[in-house]
Amino acid sequence: MNKTISIDGKTIPFKTGQTIIEAATAAGVYIPHLCHNPDYKPHGSCKLCTVKINGRNCSACTFPATEGQEILNKTPELENDRRKITQMLFVEGNHFCPSCEQSGNCQLQGLGYYLSMKDNHFPHFFANRELDASHPELLIDHNRCIFCNLCVRASQQSDGKNVFVISGRGINKRLTVNSTTGKLKDSNISVDDCAAQICPTGAILKKRTAYAVPIGQRLYDTKKIDEIALEQENKE
């Protein structure tokens, strides 16, 4: 007999070793997330995928599914708190959606839409972040980094490199590039690396491609992030 968990009252099968988010995605249930990508080892840091398992908050991307778990996901309380966590990410960095090349293709923005975020709610940090345009084909705008660690993992796990690391502590975290100058141009990143494509926001961008698709016709302009995530993550 198949083992199952229940998410918002819906019975969902799972295989031993699957995390809650893996079981949910396979069953067509979307759990909001930013630092999670099924191709990489789960990180558990953004906390947007927090669900209530038998009354206790857990990260769905790292927590293993076990028989009989009663899970709450799309409740007003969780959605409200996820909106606030998203707002935290917005005020921590400097995110100017209207002038951002990634607008419409950005998961942070897409999640903001999905969670009906109308303002930033919290006071801004106005962090002093740099822009690294040294690389001929790639650009890092540190203003938009949300420390999801995906570029770090992609570089290690897919590209067999170690181009990025997150250093610093607390609110002073920063994305650090592995090169003698700390600049991207002196690193061994290549434009075709997974690490160069993976950024969920507009922090790492390919130069001269920003407006290939006009604003208004982009990914999250046409469909909501839940639909897109389920489509993409259920491929193969």
Binding site: G44, K47, F164, S167, G168, G170
Partner: protein, 593 residues
């Protein structure tokens, strides 16, 4: 420089798990860790330079820019503040002719604040080149400034400057007398390992770090894991502001602590143990090495311990300034030479700990108690205390009382009794368990020391009627923002937002709705953070807001919206640039009604 680092790496077998040890030596010798050093290390240890940078930037006592040759840190615990640390810090800075937080131009000296250094019973305290200075006053500061200006080598300074007292005021089962060296191990071997684990079960001993997990269960889980290697780790990263009992235990009862670790190793089948010692306790390092050497000599450590075919070694590893490393999985990361970022659980350390092998991590006091239980048996221990909290608990008592120091109490003792014993008068309230614990008011002194009521890792800070609640809340809230590792969003951003929002209210810029917003933020940080740090970071605000809502409300302005900053003060730069000082260059915060 290269030769020094080469030799250092050789001594540490070119293993990156020793990165903190290596960086500590470089920091001490050169007063910072340079880019060149990082490149050399990266080549020798075969790890990426960014990995080294991430470690340097994570720990408070590593620096990418040079510190003074005399590097001074002043403890910023609330108890230090209550003893007048702020005016002493200003005096110190003035005498040294530098700005607090800066390195003096000649590079000779630097002065900055650091989180609690574990000397709350003898503050105001600090550290000079890693060594503790206590009971600071103007006379002591004058002496220190003189020694610095004459560039006297630290080893030639009067010993009295570095005196650390144990201040034990009340002993019970554990502190009354240290066990005879080897006694617990002999008792364990005579009774048998499984039978001793049974005694530990019967004792009901729970972890003394504060969380209170059943110790026998932890050891059993670890021993049941299929693995060729296991580890025992003693958590001496006593970072909770207001606790200093582990400092005293490691100074006076180290033998018993090491014995507890050794019997744990025998029971779970571990051959390697670590004492993770917080950087602030560097002064204990050499005496602990002497205790270890003695135990090796007496065959209580090393190979074939007491001819029982058991091998166990203990290594001391020093931290480098990070409160979060008291969290067991962060501690393990730090032991592996990484930034102290708590891991995802499951798996728990008993399944995948140090180098992903089953690992028991216990508090200093837990090992101390375990050694005692091995001798007296589980029943004798369990009959002390109360139902779910057996045995005794060590308290580090500080703040407004006549005798700050170490007190040992059976669980179940009332707060009133404790306050009487240490000579506390006109008490406003007590912070039980440190900033991550609970603030209780003077209406709650019949409450008890117990996991069922007031659980504590041992911090016990007393405040008298002259103190202001918001001063301590501010100190604690800033502490958490400073110590957040930054891994997860709710804690990284949330603790800094808490600091902003609390300061807004305390500084008189709050208006209707700001206290509600503060409380909402508290719940968010508490409910969504990755580890215990974030989950408790809002406790100082939540526990005082619950007891003294009027104090928060009284800080609010009666208007519906107040900017979170001082408008007029923010215009100072503009006035200076425009060279204006007329009345039109000054703005009122709000329109007069």
């Amino acid at each position: 420089m290269k030769k020094f680092i080469q030799e250092l790496c050789e001594k540490n077998n070119f293993q990156s798990v020793h990165l903190l040890t290596i960086l500590r030596k470089i920091q001490t010798k050169y007063f910072f860790i340079s880019k060149e050093d990082i490149e050399i290390l990266s080549n020798l240890l075969k790890i990426e330079s960014t990995q080294i940078i991430s470690v340097v930037e994570f720990y408070s006592f590593f620096h990418l820019k040079p510190r003074g040759h005399y590097d001074i840190f002043l403890s910023d615990s609330i108890t230090d503040q209550m003893l007048g640390q702020q005016s002493l810090a200003n005096y110190f800075a003035k005498k040294l002719k530098l700005q607090l937080g800066q390195v003096r131009d000649d590079g000779l000296v630097s002065l900055a604040y650091t989180s609690c250094t574990g000397m709350c019973d003898q503050g105001p305290a600090g550290l000079i080149n890693g060594y503790p200075i206590t009971q600071l006053n103007k006379a002591r500061i004058n002496t220190i400034v003189n020694l610095i200006e004459t560039q006297t080598a630290i080893q030639d300074w009067p010993r009295s400057i570095f005196t650390v007292n144990d201040n034990i005021y009340k002993t019970d089962l554990l502190l009354h007398q240290e066990i005879t060296q080897g006694e617990a191990l002999k008792a364990t071997f005579n009774r048998g390992l499984i039978a001793t684990l049974d005694e530990l079960k019967q004792s009901g001993l729970r972890g003394r770090g504060g969380a209170g997990f059943n110790t026998a269960m932890k050891w059993q889980f670890c021993s049941e894991e299929q693995s060729s290697e296991r580890y025992v780790v003693c958590n001496a990263d006593e970072g909770e502001p207001g606790t200093f009992k582990d400092r005293v235990l490691l100074n006076k009862y180290a033998n018993q602590v090491f014995e507890g670790m050794t019997l744990c190793a025998a029971i779970i089948g571990a051959e390697q143990g670590f004492l993770y010692l917080r950087a602030e306790y560097l002064h204990l390092y050499s005496s602990l090495k002497v205790v270890l050497a003695d135990r090796y000599e007496k065959n209580l450590l090393g190979n074939n311990i007491l001819q029982k075919n058991i091998n166990f070694n203990i290594e001391i590893r020093l931290g480098a300034g990070a409160y979060i490393c008291g969290e067991e999985s962060a501690l393990i990361e730090s032991l592996e030479g990484k930034p102290g970022i708590p891991r995802n659980r499951p798996p728990y350390p008993v399944v995948e700990g140090y180098l992903n092998k089953p690992t028991v991590v216990n508090n200093v006091e837990t090992f101390l108690a375990a050694a005692k239980i091995a001798i007296i048996g589980g029943q004798a221990f369990a009959k002390i205390g109360i139902k779910k909290s057996t045995g005794t608990k060590l308290l580090s008592i500080s703040g407004d009382c006549e005798r700050a120091g170490i007190y040992e109490y059976p669980f179940g003792t009332t707060i009133r009794q404790i306050l009487d014993d240490c000579g506390a008068k006109n008490v406003l309230g007590v912070q039980v368990g440190g900033p991550s614990g609970t603030f209780i008011s003077n209406q709650e002194f019949d409450r008890r020391l117990a996991f069922e009521d007031l659980a504590t890792g041992g911090s016990f800070i007393i405040f008298n009627q002259q103190r202001h609640i918001l001063d301590l809340v501010k100190n604690f809230t800033h502490f958490f923002a400073h110590e957040s590792c930054g891994f997860c969003t709710p804690c990284r951003v949330g603790t800094s937002l808490l600091k902003k929002q609390l300061d807004k209210i305390v500084d008189g810029h709050g208006s209707a709705g700001d206290v509600v917003a503060l409380e909402e933020l508290c719940q968010l940080v508490k409910n969504y953070s990755h580890c215990g740090l974030g989950q408790t970071a809002a406790n100082p605000i939540l526990s005082t807001l619950q007891r003294y809502p009027e104090i928060y409300q009284s800080k609010l302005k009666a208007i519906s919206y107040e900017p979170g900053f001082d408008l007029n003060a923010s215009l100072a730069t503009a006035r200076q640039l425009a060279n204006r000082d007329d009345s039109g260059a000054y703005l009122a915060q709000v329109e007069d009604e």
